[in-house]
């Protein structure tokens, strides 16, 4: 396994729209292994999207199980999701988000509190689940990457975006 290079804004490739995954064969699984390794070896490691490593397919990895956060009440552990779709949602939540691809800023972003997701698992089997709070936010953040969107696109006012230097300890 190898750590893949993470694209950083203003790299135009972060703005590309990813294609659906159709072939869940060996090559795909090898890529997912490397993507997972890259996520696990990055600062927070709760989520990553394939286009962040310049592979424009609709695959995201999320693992909220090891992250302490006041909104992290339930989670599904490690999930490898391809072609994710939000088929229902409810409520609102605002979390301060940071992104491996936007290293200098963080932002308060409003997202759905509860979502119902349909996606393909690692073998291409369609699964459906619902989740809320922290895990729901991570999924929505990663899904945005598949559409070429960054959290900065979702920040509602200039007061909700922050230069990261403030947090250096």
């Amino acid at each position: 396994m190898k750590k893949l290079e993470i694209l950083k804004y203003p790299d135009e490739r972060l703005k590309q729209i990813s294609k659906p995954v159709e072939d869940f064969g060996r090559e795909f699984k090898e890529f997912v292994d490397n993507l997972l390794y890259t996520m696990k070896n990055s600062p927070a490691g709760v989520g990553i999207a394939a286009p962040q490593v310049n592979k424009h397919i609709q695959t995201i990895i999320v693992d909220a199980s090891e992250y302490k956060h006041k909104y992290n009440k339930t989670n599904h552990g490690l999930m490898i999701l391809s072609n994710p779709r939000i088929i229902a949602h409810d409520g609102e939540i605002i979390i301060r988000e940071g992104c491996l691809s936007v290293p200098d800023y963080t932002g308060n972003v409003k997202r759905h509190y509860w979502i119902k997701v349909e996606a393909e698992d690692i073998n291409g089997k369609t699964i459906t689940f619902d989740t809320e709070g922290f895990e729901a936010v991570v999924i929505q953040h990663e899904m945005d990457h598949l559409q070429g969107k960054l959290f900065i696109d979702r920040v509602s006012s200039p007061k909700d975006i922050f230069k990261r230097k403030v947090y250096k300890k």
Binding site: Y67, I95, K159, V166
Partner: protein, 176 residues
């Protein structure tokens, strides 16, 4: 590299930001940080700018003279000494503080005094007033040795004393 802080204000009208930034652009300045907003009917501008050029405070001030007259602005320019820029304070945690209640004298002062007494630094603060409701939103930096519970207890005391609402929440950043 030279650093300057520029403040400007005057009656709100189109063209204030364009006028100021045209001069800075033409003189080869970079805007490093800025806050520009309208307070009631006055437009206010605060900028930290940098340049590689060897320009003095007076020369930069002079460059704004025509604009000052034309738009009736008050503009001040001050060079930031290099040692100030290198200063780094150690920050424990960042919190968001929201205070609101019926408007009365002393809301901002009583909150700010409580923070200052605890050596808590205000990084950002805004207030809004609409009819009788007063709202203060602030980002504050706790030093490492300040106990959140102690501050919360004091804010609770102030809350009862002033009959206002106060919430303090830690800013947690999630890396995704």
């Amino acid at each position: 590299m030279k650093y300057f802080i520029i403040t400007a204000y005057g009656k709100d009208q189109p063209g204030i930001v364009a006028g100021l930034t045209k001069i800075l652009f033409e003189k080869g300045f970079n805007i490093e940080d800025s806050a520009m907003t309208r307070l009631n009917n006055e437009f206010t501008v605060m900028l930290v700018v940098t340049t590689e050029e060897d320009i003095s405070e007076e020369e930069l001030k002079k460059a704004f003279e025509n604009l000052e007259k034309e738009k009736q602005l008050s503009i001040s320019v001050k060079e930031i000494p290099e040692e100030t820029l290198k200063e780094k304070r150690e920050i424990g945690s960042v919190y968001r503080l929201v205070v609101y209640g019926a408007d009365k004298p002393g809301i901002v002062y009583s909150v700010a005094k409580l923070l200052a007494d605890k050596n808590i630094n205000i990084a950002d603060l805004r207030t809004e007033k609409s009819k009788d409701l007063y709202v203060l939103i602030s980002q504050v930096e706790f030093p490492k040795d300040v106990d959140e519970e102690v501050v919360k207890a004091e804010l609770d005391r102030l809350k009862d004393e002033m009959n206002i609402d106060i919430s303090l929440e830690k800013e947690e950043v999630v890396e995704m």
